[in-house]
């Protein structure tokens, strides 16, 4: 019960904030009228709903009995450990080509788990890169650059 309180409070605040932001943006898109709804009509309705629902959650969380638990901990290292390599992969893909990018991705992503071994990471990286090359480029003929193109900041 305690944990649920805290999560409802946080989620309620999140929805309130997002709803408010969306509502503000929607107003600027032109509401129009019921006879001729503008671009902001439906989004405004949705934003209002979101704000309302967020408010209900916040109120509910505050009025429910129970101490707010520290919760199961917000550990940002794991998300970063996975998403960091993902972002790096995205940046590297066009300039460095798929083979190199997949290699780096797998090596770095393997760092995220608690049982680390160089030999395993390198083997996995090489084999994954090879399989991706075979499946996506040779078999499916997708237009993905395999080798470095030498161009930086190709979005």
């Amino acid at each position: 019960m305690e944990f649920k309180d805290q999560s409802s409070l946080a989620s309620g605040i999140l929805f309130l904030a997002v709803g408010a932001l969306a509502g503000y943006l929607s107003m600027n898109y032109g509401l129009g009228s019921p006879q001729s709804p503008g671009a902001g009509f439906f989004p405004s309705l949705l934003s209002a709903t979101l704000v309302l629902l967020g408010g209900i959650q916040v109120v509910g969380a505050l009025t429910r009995p129970g101490v707010s638990h520290p919760g199961s901990g917000w550990n940002l290292t794991k998300p970063l450990a996975i998403l960091g390599p993902v972002v790096l992969f995205a940046i590297m893909l066009k300039p460095a080509g798929m083979l190199l990018s997949v290699f780096v991705l797998v090596v770095l992503a393997s760092l995220a788990n608690s049982i680390w071994s160089w030999r395993y990471a390198i083997t996995a990286a090489v084999s994954t890169a090879a399989v991706c090359a075979v499946v996506f480029v040779y078999l499916l003929k997708l237009p993905i650059p395999l080798l470095p193109s030498g161009k930086l900041w190709v979005f």
Binding site: S8, K78, I82, L93, I115, A124, C132, L142, P143
Partner: protein, 501 residues
């Protein structure tokens, strides 16, 4: 009987050696590509479409249909084994399917999905053969207010599914709807929620959202909960369902098929919401609703049946009305037109061989899928017996390349990363991603129909209740909401009294 004539005609077309071969190749390729994380039916068809160009129109349509079903089943495979749905309709399968996989019963879940899909496909074929024209006429009765009401019903179905609080689920739906509206508004040309970036003009891509919210978030959550040592499957012996289990899921399968048939005929939202509604119904009629979300067999059988039936039925309005029910259907329509076939109400009369041949070959495709996949189950199961820590880097690589390949855009990978972070956030806040996804998919369509209804009625909101079908759907939605609220209140009272006693 007319059904038999049509089936016979179709049989003659479909059961030639050539067409059987194409159906087989289509199913096989579709499954293999659909199984790749991040590539769903739409991407698979886009990739494999060129293979069909050299063929005759009927044969290429048969092969495309095979690819479509294969990819759909492949999407269900990743939904069950990796918690990564290949397409909207597989999203519901992740709820119980993935839980079954985590309990070491993934093979069973896959088998049930295959069998339920096959059953639904058979029923759908018969229905299509006998009732295509009346069905299409029924579909024509659906106009903007009806579509809007239908989507409201579908969304309430998604809300009924949620295991967390109802308010949170509704919030996720609303948030999904908003996210779905991002991009250029087609009616007014106004860019919405794009924050000035030209990259967002087309809106957010489903694959990027799904990979982020499901695959990436799942990887992060599993690692942060220290479960990377866990092994994929423990029991290979439980691959095929026992007779007892088949009897258990049979009613769910039948219900799912019926729901799929009814919703699939409606162009547009039909196929997407079929699985959501059937899951919500199953949860409502089940003896132990609390099993759902923890690995209930019916929770896999019903939505799989529903989405397969809907997928097959979706061909009827696509061919007969020229209105594609989903992005995938649009691709198939495009393929047809490349071959010079004009979809429209005349197609059944002008090209009966192709139409009935397609319907029969859809059933044959179902058979082929069953034959291909049941033995392949052992393969998937073996592959996933490795501990998670060996698998996730490869899953990561495949998914990201899949995301990239949809539009050759690295921006999509960034999007996926963002949704990965959001997915982790939602997990910590105990909010469920599945309702958000349905809102995302239905957002633009819902707004379109809402707006059109208001324009037609001159700003009069009562149009939604003055149309009988629309009124019925809205009442059903309200009933669903009441059920959820009442059963939630009842459960809380039970828990409170148990604690007090």
């Amino acid at each position: 009987m007319e059904i038999l004539n049509h089936l016979a005609e179709g049989y003659a077309v479909a059961v030639t050696l050539d067409n059987l071969f194409y159906a087989f190749v289509g199913c096989l390729l579709g499954t293999l590509v659909g199984v790749l994380p991040g590539l769903g039916p739409a991407a698979s068809i886009a990739i494999l479409l060129p293979f069909t160009f050299g063929l005759e129109p009927t044969s290429s349509l048969i092969m495309l249909a095979g690819i479509y079903y294969g990819a759909q089943y492949g999407g269900s495979v990743t939904a069950i084994l990796l918690n990564l749905p290949g397409e909207t309709s597989a999203v519901v399968t992740t709820l119980d399917g993935y839980q079954l996989a985590r309990q070491g019963r993934g093979g069973l879940a896959l088998a049930i999905a295959a069998l339920a899909s096959f059953f639904a496909g058979t029923v759908a074929t018969v229905v299509l053969a006998g009732f295509s024209l009346p069905l299409v006429e029924f579909a024509l009765k659906f106009q903007s207010p009806e579509y809007f009401a239908l989507m409201v019903f579908g969304l309430m179905g998604a809300a009924a599914i949620g295991t967390s609080s109802f308010v949170k689920t509704l919030s996720m739906i609303s948030l999904g709807l908003l996210i779905g509206l991002a991009g250029i508004d087609l009616n007014s040309g106004t860019p919405r929620f794009t924050f000035g970036s030209p990259l967002l003009l087309d809106g957010i891509e489903f694959v990027a959202l799904a990979v982020g919210l499901f695959a990436l978030a799942e990887i992060i959550v599993t690692l942060s909960e220290g479960e990377e040592g866990r092994s994929g499957m423990q029991r290979i012996t439980s691959l095929l369902p026992r007779w007892r289990e088949i009897r258990e899921i049979f009613p769910a399968t039948v219900r799912g098929s019926l729901i799929g048939i009814v919703t699939g005929i409606l162009p547009g939202a039909g196929a997407s919401i079929a699985s959501f509604i059937s899951y919500a119904v199953e949860k409502r009629v089940a003896k132990n609703p609390d099993d759902f979300g923890k690995g209930a067999l019916a929770g896999v059988a019903a939505p799989e049946a529903a989405n397969n039936a809907a997928a097959q039925l979706a061909f009827a309005p696509t061919l007969a009305l020229g209105i594609p029910g989903s992005g995938t259907m649009a691709l198939i329509l495009a393929a047809l037109m490349i071959h010079g076939i004009q979809p429209g109400p005349d197609i059944i009369r002008s090209n009966p061989g192709m139409f009935w041949g397609l319907i029969v070959s859809m059933w044959i495709g179902n058979v082929i899928l069953l034959i291909i996949n049941l033995p392949m189950l052992r393969l998937w199961v073996k592959a996933l017996m490795l501990p998670y820590r060996f698998l996730y880097p490869a899953i990561l690589a495949f998914s990201l390349i899949g995301v990239y390949s949809v539009a050759s855009s690295t921006f999509m990978i960034f999007t996926a990363a963002l949704f990965g972070l959001l997915g982790y956030l939602f997990h910590k806040l105990r909010c469920e991603p599945v309702p958000l996804v349905l809102g995302f998919v239905l957002g633009p369509m819902m707004e379109e129909n809402f707006r059109r209804s208001l324009i037609i009625s001159g700003g009069d909101f009562s149009i939604f209740v003055s149309h009988p079908i629309s009124l019925t759907l809205l009442c059903m939605s309200a009933a669903l909401v009441l059920f959820v609220l009442i059963s939630g209140a009842r459960r809380r009272r039970r828990v409170a009294s148990a604690e007090g006693a």
